[in-house]
Every structure is written in structure tokens, then in C-alpha cells.
């Protein structure tokens, strides 16, 4: 018996040693490679936070996928330092007089990392694949401006009717349903990146590993240890390779903001997000860098649920909210209080900032709030207001804001609001089904156009989620979508925003921004208000 026991012990020990030694030898090999590469060369160390969902351009509809993908692939256009669409794979383009047909001229010498030429066909293949309902891409709606796209994606049309045509290897013709001043901007989005058709047909899983990945961006993916790290090296095949100064980008995947900050402090990372607990202190020390982010935090009223069927009661609640106080004392960030839905930094068709051209709404006014509540209750015949429950998805900051709002409603309107929180998945489900009375929301722009924000509250939009429907609003947005006269389009959109705040199916809290820490020797990383991380001009000095 003792012998057997000893035998088992030995076996177990041997097993564990084998387990340790094999994994260690393989990992130490890669770490050697890393130190060699780091010494002397210009390497940037970033944190991606998590494993990318997918490097399939049609699938990874999130920042963890697209911040990285944006640097190893490229579409027809690419956002420049000024946040405007600039020539990329397309050297130039012609737009027809009616503004509906775009003819893109693809660079003669554009190449994939495997040496294949980038052709118009690669775009046709990728775009039709994006729109194919079988691909089930969450980003397919971005293709809606293209004629035939919506029908194909909703299973009613066919791929052949999608108006994306390769006239020859280097000419791509795209026809839109309506003239769209944002189209060149929309197609900078990673879901419109081309795919090397030859590669994808031979290996449908080409995007899963560094070895099989074929890109066409400023960098190429050379190593991808899943859930652990990625390495990108400068792509010598890139058409604008002379501009790219960085030799290598190493991406860690650290999903804990304290650890990320500690790694930044110990020199393992060149950049870090700001841990919430240290935010105040780091801001005071002047270490936090801020750049704008096109997005708005707001709350939705459910206009199908009492008492919020009444616009005056909605406005009373909206006016009881003091955004300035919230940001200064509760959120404690440098973000701007939101007194409108379209965030600053979004330019209209005449090139002016839509926000600075527009009005300021939703200001705190205790007196008027009380008056409106009184009037609203009278209209509805309420002696006491039906119970109001404010719901948010479980999160520390959301909780703090919700509690502060609860106090503001109590103080200004004398109303006791109940608070409830739910796990995000349940919360989002209930909000879409109009089961929540008053709930927290956020909007991040998909492309830089005020219409992207405002179309959310049209009657048929899946982003509406308030039950609110206004004919005039719908009409104004529909007009703006077809409008060729730039001044008229802008006027329509401003008028729509007026209606939105006059009817108040929502109230706004703040405009987002991007806050981060960065080493002083790192220069040239571009963070677009709408768009993904840009390392093409980045440098480590």
C-alpha cells in the first residue's frame, strides 16, 4: 500500500513538473523576443483592456476590437488629424452632381501584407459580406445609406441589388439612396475595411490568428497570444509607410484599472486610464490628459407610463436637475455638463460646430420646475404624483449620480423617487421593452454628424426607447436625410433638437470625454471624438 501511495505521489509530482516546465519554456521564449525588440527600437506599450472580440471587420463592433484593428487595416478613407475623412486606400474620388454616386479610385500600388494588390473587388466582397444577414453583423446598420443595403440586410433584397460595383480592379462605384454629406466619414469605420477575398475564401478563419491575418494598415499584426498580448510592427508595404515613425506597438490586455495604473507607474505601460479613486488627486497634480469624445449621458422618460405621459411633468423633472453640481461634486471629472443632445465637436455641413451654432437647453430652474409640476399635475388630475422609480444599470458612478438625482427631485419638487438597479443585460432588455419608468442611458456617436444623434428619437428608431413620437420631429429628420441644401439641412436639425427638448422625452447629464495618462515621451497619438485610436503618427522619443 505504501508503495502504491509513493507511486501516486511521484506520478502527481512528475505531472505537475511537466505542466510547469512546458508552459514556462514556451513563455520564456516569447519574453526573450520582447526584450530584444524593446531595446533600442521605438516601441509603444499600450493596454487594450481585454481580448478583442473579433478582428473580423464585420464582427468586432466595439472599442477593444476596433482600436487595434484600425491600425492594421485601412478603408477607402481614413480620419485625419483634423477628424475629417482623408484619402486612404482611395487616392481620390468623384461625386456625381446629385450627390448620390461616388466613384473611388483605389491606389495602384496598395498592397495587402501578403503582397496581394488591394482591389475594388476586395471592397465589394467585404461590404456585401457586412450586409449579408447571415453574417449577422451588429454594424450592418452603418451601411444603410447605400442603395439596396437595408433591404438586403433585412432579408428582403438580394446581394446583387446592393449598389457597390467594381468597374475595374481599381475603381469602385457606390450609389446611395439619398445624398449624404457624412458618407466619406461613415466609411472610415472599421466595418467598411476591405477583406482580401482570396485569403478569406481559402481560410474563413483568417482573422483569428496573427499568422493568418492579412491586413493593409500602417502596422501589421505579428504576434497574438490570446487573452494576453498582441504585437504589431510597422508595415513596410503600407502606401504611406514613410509617415509611420513607430517600429512596434505592444498591446497588453489588462482589465483592472488599478493594475493598469500600477503598470504605468512601474514603466510597463506608456499609457493608462485614470482609476476612479485617484481621479481627483491626479487631476489636481495636472497629470490627466483630456480629449473630447462624441457622446452624451442622459436619462429616458417612459412616455407610456404615468406620470411621464405628461410633457410638463417630464420638463419639471428635467429642470430639477442641476448638471453643473452633478459634475463638480458627484462625478468629479472635467467633463462638460450637457445642455443639449448633440455633443460639441460635431461639425455641420457648413463646417461649423453644430453645438456652438445651436441653443442651450435643459438648464436648472427650481422655480419653473415647481410651476410646471403643478400645472402638469392639474392637467392629469393628480392629487399626488404616481410613484416614480429611477432605474440604472449596476455601476458605482451610475449609483452616485442616481442618488444625487434622487436628492435633487426631493429638494426641488418635493418628490420621493425610488431607486432600482439591475445588471446591464437585464436593464437593457427591460429598457428596450419600455418596462422602465425613468432610466439611465448613454449615447456614443457612430459617425460625426448631428443626424446620427437626432435620428435616435424618431418614432421607428430602435434607439428611441421612450415611447415618444412626434410627427413634426420625424418629418424634420426625414427631410434632413434627403436635403441637398446644406443650410436647410442644418436648420432642420436645429429645429428637431428644439422639439426634443421642448417635449422632453429625455433629460441630459453630461458630454463624455476621454481621460488618460500618458508618458511625456509619447507624442502624436490621435484620439478622434468619433472613431478609433490612431497610431499612424505616433512617436516614442
Amino acid at each position: 500500500m505504501k508503495k502504491r501511495f509513493n507511486l501516486i505521489c511521484t506520478l502527481l509530482l512528475a505531472l505537475s513538473l511537466v505542466g510547469c516546465s512546458t508552459t514556462q519554456s514556451s513563455s520564456s521564449g516569447s519574453s526573450d523576443g520582447k526584450t530584444k525588440a524593446s531595446s533600442g527600437k521605438k516601441v509603444l506599450h499600450l493596454n487594450n483592456g481585454n481580448e478583442p472580440t473579433s478582428f473580423d471587420p464585420a464582427q468586432g463592433f466595439d472599442a477593444v476590437s476596433w482600436n487595434a484593428l484600425n491600425n492594421i487595416m485601412e478603408g477607402l478613407t481614413r480620419l485625419g488629424k483634423d477628424n475629417k475623412a482623408a484619402p486612404a486606400m482611395a487616392e481620390s474620388w468623384d461625386v456625381s452632381k446629385d450627390g448620390k454616386t461616388y466613384t473611388f479610385h483605389i491606389r495602384q500600388h496598395a498592397k495587402w501584407t501578403n503582397g496581394d494588390p488591394v482591389t475594388a473587388n476586395d471592397f465589394v466582397y467585404a461590404w456585401k459580406r457586412l450586409l449579408d444577414p447571415k453574417t449577422a453583423s451588429p454594424a450592418a446598420f452603418l451601411g444603410d445609406p447605400i442603395a439596396g443595403a437595408t433591404a438586403y440586410n433585412s432579408g428582403k433584397g438580394s446581394a446583387d441589388d446592393v449598389q457597390v460595383i467594381a468597374s475595374d480592379a481599381h475603381t469602385l462605384k457606390v450609389t446611395l439612396t439619398d445624398p449624404n454629406p457624412s458618407f466619406l466619414n461613415i466609411i472610415t469605420n472599421p466595418c467598411f475595411f476591405p477583406i482580401d477575398e482570396k485569403v478569406a475564401k481559402a481560410n474563413p478563419n483568417w482573422f483569428k490568428e496573427a499568422k493568418t491575418f492579412v491586413g493593409n494598415g500602417p502596422f501589421k499584426l505579428t504576434q497574438w497570444v490570446h487573452n494576453s498580448k498582441m504585437v504589431m510592427k510597422k508595415n513596410e508595404n503600407y502606401w504611406d509607410a514613410d509617415t509611420v515613425k513607430l517600429m512596434e506597438v505592444d498591446w497588453a490586455m489588462v482589465n483592472d484599472s488599478n493594475t493598469e495604473y500600477q503598470m504605468f507607474q512601474s514603466g510597463q505601460l506608456d499609457e493608462s486610464s485614470v482609476p476612479a479613486d485617484l481621479s481627483d488627486q491626479l487631476f489636481k497634480q495636472g497629470k490627466v490628459k483630456v480629449s473630447s469624445q462624441a457622446g452624451t449621458e442622459f436619462y429616458r422618460f417612459n412616455t407610456k407610463m404615468a406620470p411621464f405621459q405628461n410633457a410638463k411633468i417630464r420638463k419639471a423633472f428635467a429642470m430639477a436637475v442641476d448638471q453643473e453640481q452633478l459634475i463638480k461634486y458627484v462625478i468629479k471629472s472635467q467633463e462638460k455638463p450637457a445642455h443639449a443632445f448633440v455633443s460639441p465637436g460635431i461639425v455641420d455641413t457648413s463646417g461649423k460646430d453644430f453645438r456652438s451654432e445651436g441653443k442651450s437647453y435643459n438648464a436648472f430652474n427650481a422655480k419653473e420646475a415647481k410651476q410646471l409640476l403643478k400645472e402638469g399635475m392639474k392637467e392629469e388630475g393628480y392629487k399626488t404624483l404616481p410613484q416614480v422609480t429611477l432605474t440604472y444599470s449596476t455601476d458605482d458612478t451610475n449609483k452616485k449620480v442616481a442618488e444625487a438625482l434622487q436628492q435633487m427631485f426631493k429638494k426641488t419638487l418635493g418628490i420621493n423617487v425610488k431607486l432600482a438597479n439591475m445588471e446591464w443585460n437585464v436593464f437593457s432588455d427591460e429598457q428596450k421593452k419600455l418596462k422602465l419608468q425613468l432610466s439611465r442611458s448613454s449615447f456614443l456617436a457612430d459617425y460625426a454628424d448631428p443626424i446620427n444623434y437626432l435620428v435616435s428619437f424618431t418614432t421607428d428608431s430602435s434607439m428611441n426607447r421612450t415611447g415618444w413620437s412626434n410627427k413634426q420631429y420625424d418629418q424634420l429628420i426625414a427631410q434632413a436625410q434627403k436635403e441637398t441644401d446644406e443650410a436647410q439641412r442644418n436648420a432642420d436639425l436645429h429645429q428637431a433638437e428644439d422639439i426634443l427638448f421642448d417635449q422632453a422625452p429625455i433629460f441630459t447629464i453630461k458630454f463624455y470625454d476621454q481621460e488618460y495618462l500618458q508618458k511625456d515621451n509619447v507624442k502624436g497619438i490621435v484620439r478622434h471624438p468619433v472613431g478609433y485610436l490612431e497610431l499612424k503618427w505616433a512617436q516614442v522619443q
Binding site: 473580423d56 489588462v254 483592472d256 493594475t259 512601474s266 432588455d429
Partner: protein, 309 residues
């Protein structure tokens, strides 16, 4: 012995089946969906997705086909990571968690047993008090605080070790210590108390009387018996540690399988929820079984089968 093992094996299969069944139905009862995103995809796309993962079929059918695929050890496809199989995720994550877990176990058991034995031998002495103070600290300081402290001191202040990530043997040290202190403290306390009990037994006195060396008495006679309670908790401990710690793996950015336990539930990734649950419970059941077998070897008083001995 053989019949005992067979009987236990049958019980293990039934336990596993119960766990699978309960998890499967509870999971489908939970509100929310794996395809829930900030922006809705259209009806045709939703339908395609449901069909692709067979979620449009009646729940009983889904259950039976899942059981069938389990028989082939096929855990299905991840929904939130398109194109990724659950088997693939486990195959990537488990070796990493296993490596860290093995290191942790070795450290925790060795240091725990040594501390416990020393404390028992020097009962009520300085070493005893020191060892037990260490044990109390180890039990009461949660591992995520230990982890943050270790990073702050050894990586940020002294630059001795890397703060996080998983690429060289150096990276293993901090998470191992952070993960091992808790179990070490538990093992030290258990060893100490059972050592104290064993040391007063008659056979120890007899061994002393026979003039055996103190080393032989402690290692051969006392420790072997004192280790029984340690072996008991080792089963659950091993299963817990080897399948990865969500918190420690998150703090140190270790690509193990710990995160799938939590992430999959948040994103309603049905097949990953099932895969991790089946894997973990299977592992736990086997470990408990091994512990029972080990009793027989360690303690001749325990008989696994009546007829034997």
C-alpha cells in the same frame, strides 16, 4: 475496492447530470439574452443568430442536444466571441490557471504544513505565536488586497518584479504569493491543531519510549496522521485553485479561465456558462473522489471496502 470505485463513479455521473440540468434551466430562466446589444440588429439578423445557435428550438430539444454533445466532450460555440469554441477557450485558459494553481498549491501546502508543525512543536512559544499571527493575517486579508499591496511595494516602489501580465517565470511570483497566503493560513492552522492532538496520543509516547529520533517521530508517526484533515480540504481547495481565480487573474491580467466564470454570465454566453460549470464541477467531483481514495492510503483505520483487510 473495485465495486466501491464503480459505485462512486455512478454517483459522480448522477451528480454531474444534476448540476448540468439545474444550470441549464436556471440559465435559460434568467432574463436577458446573449444577443442583447446597445443597438438592436434587425429581425432577420436576430432570426439568423437564433437559428445559428439553435436557440429557436424548443428548450427540451436544446437540452437533449446539449447532453448529447456533452457525451462527445463537445461544449459548443461561444456566442460573444464569434467563431470561438468553448473547448478552445478552455484549452487556452486552463493550462495557465493550472500552472498558477499548481505553484500556489505547492507553496501553500509546503509552507502551511511547515508553519503548522513548527507551531505545534513549539506550542505556546514565540514561534507558535508568530506562526499563528501570520496565519490570522493570511486568513483575514483578502487576496485582492494582498495582490494590490504586493504590486505596489515590489513592482511600483522597488521595481523588483513586474506588476502584471503573464510572460516569464518572474511574472508568476506575485500572483502565486497573493493566491497562496489564504490557503497557507488555513492549512497551517489545521496542521497545528491536529498535530497538537496527535502528539498527545499513546503511540507517540510509545515511539518516544522506544527511543526513536524526534525527526522520525514527527515525520513518520505524527505528521502522517495529522495530515488527514489537511487532505480533506485539499480536494475542494485544489479544484478551486486549479480552475483559476477570477479576482487574481483579473488583477494580474493572467489569461487563465477564471474570467469566463463571471464574464460568461454577464454576457449570457450560454455555452460558455455551461462549459465552465461542467468543467469545474467535473474537476471538483474527481478531486473529492481522489481525496476519499487517499484516505485509505493515509489512514489504515479507514476501509473503503468491508471485505478488504
Amino acid at each position: 475496492m473495485v465495486t466501491y470505485i464503480l459505485r462512486r463513479f455512478g454517483a459522480m455521473i448522477i451528480t454531474l447530470w444534476l448540476i448540468v440540468t439545474l444550470t441549464f434551466f436556471l440559465m435559460h430562466l434568467a432574463p436577458g439574452s446573449p444577443f442583447n446589444q446597445e443597438r438592436n440588429t434587425n429581425a432577420a439578423v436576430q432570426k439568423n443568430l437564433m437559428e445559428h445557435y439553435h436557440l429557436n428550438e424548443p428548450i427540451a430539444f436544446q437540452y437533449l442536444s446539449y447532453l448529447k454533445s456533452l457525451l462527445h466532450f463537445d461544449f459548443g460555440m461561444s456566442i460573444t466571441q464569434p467563431g470561438q469554441t468553448v473547448n478552445g477557450l478552455l484549452a487556452q485558459g486552463f493550462p495557465v490557471s493550472f500552472e498558477l494553481g499548481m505553484m500556489t498549491l505547492v507553496v501553500a501546502v509546503l509552507s502551511g504544513v511547515i508553519l503548522g508543525v513548527l507551531a505545534a512543536l513549539k506550542h505556546n512559544g514565540i514561534i507558535d505565536y508568530l506562526a499563528m499571527t501570520l496565519a490570522v493575517i493570511g486568513i483575514s486579508v483578502p487576496n485582492f488586497i494582498m495582490a494590490t499591496l504586493l504590486i505596489q511595494e515590489l513592482a511600483v516602489h522597488w521595481h523588483v518584479l513586474p506588476a502584471a501580465t503573464w510572460s516569464s517565470p518572474k511574472h508568476v511570483i506575485l500572483p502565486t504569493i497573493a493566491l497562496a497566503t489564504g490557503p497557507m493560513a488555513i492549512i497551517a492552522r489545521l496542521t497545528r491543531s491536529s498535530m497538537l492532538e496527535v502528539l498527545t496520543q499513546d503511540y507517540i509516547r510509545t515511539a518516544r519510549a522506544k527511543g526513536l529520533s524526534p525527526y522520525k517521530i514527527v515525520v513518520r508517526h505524527a505528521l502522517r496522521n495529522a495530515l488527514l484533515p489537511v487532505v480533506t480540504i485539499l480536494g475542494t481547495l485544489t479544484a478551486g485553485i486549479l480552475t483559476g481565480s477570477f479576482v487574481i487573474e483579473k488583477i494580474f491580467a493572467i489569461p487563465g479561465m477564471g474570467k469566463y466564470f463571471v464574464d460568461s454570465i454577464n454576457s449570457r454566453d450560454y455555452f460558455v456558462i455551461m462549459g465552465t460549470t461542467v468543467f469545474y464541477s467535473g474537476f471538483l467531483i474527481i478531486m473529492l473522489f481522489l481525496v476519499d481514495i487517499a484516505y485509505g492510503f493515509l489512514d489504515p483505520r479507514i476501509k473503503l471496502h468491508k471485505k478488504e483487510g
